[in-house]
């Protein structure tokens, strides 16, 4: 099957194309040099063409998301659409059902999305949901930061065992990368406690968050994993936490990257760029975080932009969720996972006239606008923590238009003037910057840039065409048109197949699930497994034989090879 996209105004940052009229040839799901004269032609008519969107951090599947659905029928009632001949019914806004997840991403021109956190023990559930999300390619990051084997091997300073455990854990969970959430805090939450900084000692395991982060970064690079360690910092959600975030980012200097990418990705930085000492003197320290990122080459961040209105916070950071539930008098879901991590789910409503929310709204935008290199700051809402992913077009419009920002600033709490820098920032991103923050940069951060996030020969034929002509629009003024175009792609092409036309779903192919198969010397695995078997015999409540995710749950796998003996280093 051949396809030719003609007359597109193409933005393809990886290949240095900035709005030039470029034809794109597609054959058998891949972008090729040329196609025959019998190829089907799509005339883009000068409209904006980009690679399919890539989201490196979104909570789309698994135990937390489903707890959110079960807790929030009031959310499910939003966004209800009956089935059609092609689509299954859609429900929900912050916690959509599996079908809506796939359709809504595709409608925005997104074709690849990574679930941000799964405990190994609950990974089967994650994959059950990923299997049912239509159209998009996907994968899931696996939690390692409070796992007992991680902490044991860190304490023993046995990097071979730690690397072998990470490799095995990725296999067991069919995971794509190493997620670390409030390292050590997940274990402490087992007794209702938390760590308060990088150097607190986790009782019974005698390790610190600092040691956990550094060791996992080292193991990650020993294994040459496609993605770096993906860190949700300690002290998230507490005023003054920017210092912990800066100290955590500095840890990356202790580790050398095994690939052309960051050593550390600090996620949803909106939630950990906070100054002040309490909610009264709460202020933005986004400038400090952006400044650090600007002056280093081994750390990337994503925004975690706040969106006004309803959101559902969900995270493996159990203690922060208990604090949220108490603060907001909100319903509280908690889901500790034995030997692995904690988790919590709490609904929230972000209000323009609440000073803390207004400041958080500004922080996300400051991070994106003060970070000079768009490859270092990805566009996310930490769906659905900052807000649902369907609001990405709103974020794009805000970043491209100072006029829109200034109009918005007039409607929010005055604290944004005194305690953030957003009113004075006049930078406006262009389509090239947006293409980087929503596809090329995300693909690079994830280690997928060979086939995702660009439109060069050999890339997957995942393409979005948006109904705006870049040479005839001033996004600074016509921001509403920009937002509307990104909400509803003129075309979304996934693997060479048209899946969205004029914002409507036209086909629902099955996407693939990315996971990383990292090899380590067998003797390292053998020694590591002695410890694992001991833990199953004594502490886990299920058997080792029933722990690992079976092939039946990953029916369309895309296996990425890595590892020590694979010679990736």
């Amino acid at each position: 099957m051949e396809l030719l996209i003609k007359n597109g105004a193409v933005y393809d940052p990886k290949n240095g194309i900035k709005g030039d009229k470029t034809d794109i040839s597609i054959k058998d799901g891949k972008i090729v040099k040329s196609v025959s004269s019998s190829a089907k032609i799509i005339d883009a008519g000068g409209r904006l063409v980009m690679a399919g969107g890539v989201d490196g951090h979104s909570h789309i599947a698994g135990a937390k998301v489903n707890v959110g659905r079960l807790m929030r029928p009031e959310d499910t009632r939003i966004g209800i659409k009956p089935r059609t001949k092609i689509t299954r019914p859609q429900t929900g806004y912050t916690v959509p059902n599996v079908y809506a997840m796939g359709y809504r991403y595709a409608q925005m021109g997104y074709t690849t999305v990574f679930e941000a956190a799964q405990a190994i023990m609950k990974a089967r559930h994650t994959h059950e949901e990923l299997e049912e999300i239509p159209i998009i390619d996907k994968g899931a990051l696996t939690l390692f930061g409070s796992n007992w084997p991680t902490m044991d091997f860190v304490r023993e300073k046995d990097m071979d065992k730690l690397a072998a455990y990470v490799a095995w854990g990725l296999l067991a969970s069919r995971g794509y990368g190493v997620k670390v959430v409030n390292p050590g805090g997940g274990e402490m939450w087992g007794y209702g406690k938390n760590v308060t900084g990088l150097d607190d000692v986790v009782p019974s395991f005698d390790v610190t968050p600092r040691e956990i982060i550094v060791s996992l970064m080292k193991a990650n690079e020993m294994l040459g994993l496609p993605h770096s360690v993906h860190l949700h910092c300690n002290n998230l959600g507490k005023p003054g936490n920017y210092k912990t975030t800066l100290a955590s980012m500095e840890l990356a200097n202790q580790v050398k990257a095994s690939k052309d990418r960051q050593v550390l990705h600090v996620t949803h930085a909106t939630f950990n760029a906070w100054g002040g000492t309490n909610w009264g003197d709460f202020e933005s320290k986004a400038d400090e975080i952006a400044n650090y990122v600007n002056n280093c080459d081994n750390v990337t961040i994503d925004m975690g932009q706040l969106i006004w209105g309803s959101a559902t916070t969900m995270t493996a950071d159990g203690p922060v969720q208990y604090a949220n539930a108490k603060l907001l008098h909100a319903k509280w879901g908690n889901g500790d996972v034995e030997l692995e991590d904690a988790s919590g789910v709490v609904p929230i409503f972000y209000v323009k006239q609440i000073s803390v929310h207004a400041i958080m709204w500004a922080i996300g935008l400051e991070l994106a606008l003060l970070t000079k290199d768009p490859y270092k700051v990805l566009l996310t809402t930490d769906h659905p923590n900052g807000g649902p992913f369907v609001n990405y077009p709103e974020v794009i419009a805000l970043l491209m238009s100072n006029k829109k920002r200034q109009e918005e600033i007039k409607t929010v709490h005055e604290a944004v003037h005194k305690r953030t820098k957003i009113p004075g920032i006049d930078r406006e991103l262009d389509f090239n910057d947006i293409a980087i923050m929503t596809r090329t940069g995300s693909a690079k951060v994830l280690g997928l840039l060979d086939t995702k996030g660009h439109l060069g020969v050999g890339a997957d034929a995942d393409i979005a065409i948006y109904d705006i002509k870049p040479d005839q629009i001033d996004p600074s003024v016509e921001h509403a048109k920009v937002k509307s175009a990104f909400q509803s792609a003129a075309y979304t092409i996934k693997g060479g197949e048209v899946v969205v036309k004029d914002g409507q779903i036209t086909a629902t192919p099955v996407g693939r699930t990315y996971w990383v198969d990292a090899s380590v010397p067998q003797e390292h695995t053998d020694i590591m497994m002695k410890d694992i078997r001991h833990k199953f015999k004594n502490y886990y409540s299920i058997g080792l034989a029933n722990y690992m995710v079976q092939d039946a749950y990953v029916t369309h796998p895309k296996v990425v090879k890595a590892g020590i003996s694979a010679g990736v280093n």
């Binding site: 429900t91 087992g190 019974s204 108490k326 509280w332 409540s541």
Partner: protein
């Protein structure tokens, strides 16, 4: 002879995964490690041999072919204006997915056995959330365990041994001796008999007692009467001190709480108590789910429709309003004009008026076993036993997903095969 180890038991929400099964000539000869009920479930009994039909419910069944039974079932469902698809708890998640798709096709109501069990807990979760944990967290850490309106000795026989009372863990090497066990119940059950403390309530007073505990915890003991629900105030004050003194407390509640007076409000109140206890020390609360995969249905239904149960597809999109859309709501209002009962036994567990309505309308039963639902059925389609003859997914009471193993080859078609055929046939009849 084949020995299958690490097999899973398809009886209760404990989903024990350490079962050993000895198989010879496609027969299960021996079951090790399971409880008595589990052994009986795995070995099987009184299977329905072949599909059966009858027009007159007072008449005798006549054996028919699978094709005839599927055709009859499809016609009943396709011709119904308000079909109900009920049961699901004793089937694997793969079956639930097919069931929800069929419900979409039909514009049916789909509901599961939680409706007469833990659905009130779901309503409470809508109100308050659920601070919970996996069972291994309890095994490794809990030094205080409360069974409230639940009786694991009989309903979840290995719960205490594997997870909650006798189990030894990382922070609790002593097992039973390292734990205080408290039972709150209206009856002195066998679980109560082995507890360190038994608190006997007057029937229907759970809500009052929980409220009193919350008041005492909040420092408002002065407002609590001298006796609450038959329990002296001093005992309640002492109980709060005991609860606060624990390092990790786990509360397991059963149908004594969900199906007694005040129903979901009991759970709502209990969850609030647990949330408030977390200001002092660590507490988690977990429903004692009955059927081995009732939790799985709630999960599949939630990720596919957004709601955990009682979903009405009459509008084409999922609609949920328990009290209006649950199985007994539509049966008692006599709206249901055809029902498919699968992997659950409405005949045995529904209120008499609901069963009377089932007796009036065409009923299709899909089940390996003859049970009271069979007595009100017109079309009976026997299937393979999920978790014994069919592999697939189920969710433990704490939401841990596990893959069931196939122990022997099935002698009947699977639920999935039957549902696929019915769905296909329904589509044709309705001309989609």
């Amino acid at each position: 002879m084949t020995v299958i180890t690490d097999a899973l038991c398809p009886f209760c929400g404990c989903t024990c995964d350490d079962i050993t099964v000895v198989v010879e000539d496609n027969k299960i000869m021996e079951v090790k490690n399971a409880c008595k009920i589990g052994v009986a479930k795995i070995k099987g009994h009184h299977r329905i041999k072949a599909p059966m039909m009858r027009t007159d419910k007072k008449g005798e069944f006549k054996e028919v072919s699978y094709d005839e039974a599927i055709e009859a079932a499809s016609k009943i469902l396709a011709g119904s204006t308000r079909p109900l698809l009920y049961g699901w708890a004793s089937a694997l998640c793969e079956v639930h997915k097919k069931g929800i798709l069929l419900a979409e096709e039909l514009g049916a109501i789909i509901d599961n056995t939680a409706t007469v069990c833990h659905a009130p807990s779901t309503l409470a979760v809508h109100e308050k959330g659920l601070p919970s944990a996996t069972l291994g967290q309890v095994k490794n850490r809990a030094d205080l365990v409360v069974f409230w309106g639940s009786n694991p000795v009989h309903a979840h026989p290995r719960h205490m041994g594997r997870y909650s009372v006798f189990a030894k863990g990382f922070f609790n090497e002593k097992g039973r001796r390292g734990r205080k066990v408290i039972v709150v119940d209206v009856r002195k059950t066998d679980t109560a008999a082995m507890a360190d403390e038994y608190i006997q309530l007057q029937q229907g007073s759970d809500y009052l007692v929980i409220s009193a505990l919350r008041a005492i915890l909040a420092g408002q003991a002065a407002v609590v009467p001298d006796v609450v629900g038959g329990v002296p105030k001093e005992q309640l004050v002492k109980l709060v001190d005991t609860l606060k003194a624990a390092k990790f407390g786990a509360v397991f509640f059963g149908m004594g709480l969900t199906q007694s007076i005040s129903r979901y409000k009991n759970i709502d109140n209990a969850i609030s108590l647990i949330t408030e206890l977390n200001a002092f020390t660590k507490y988690v609360i977990t429903p004692m789910r009955g059927h081995y995969n009732v939790t799985g249905f709630g999960n599949v239904c939630a990720w596919e429709t957004g709601y955990g149960t009682a979903v009405d597809f009459a509008r084409g999109a999922p609609y949920y309003n328990p009290g209006e859309t649950a199985a007994n709501d539509v049966l008692l209002r006599k709206e249901t004009d055809a029902a498919m009962i699968i992997a659950g036994d409405a005949g045995a567990h529904f209120p008499a008026d609901s069963v009377r309505q089932l007796a009036r309308i065409p009923v299709i039963q899909i089940d390996p076993y003859w049970n009271p639902t069979t007595e009100v059925a017109n079309v009976v389609i026997p299937v393979a036993i999920c978790g014994v003859e069919v592999e697939g997914t189920a969710y433990r009471m704490d939401g841990v997903s596990l893959r069931y193993r196939k122990m022997i080859e099935p002698t009947h078609p699977t639920d999935v095969e039957i549902l696929e055929k019915i769905t296909e046939r329904v589509r044709k009849i309705r001309g989609d």
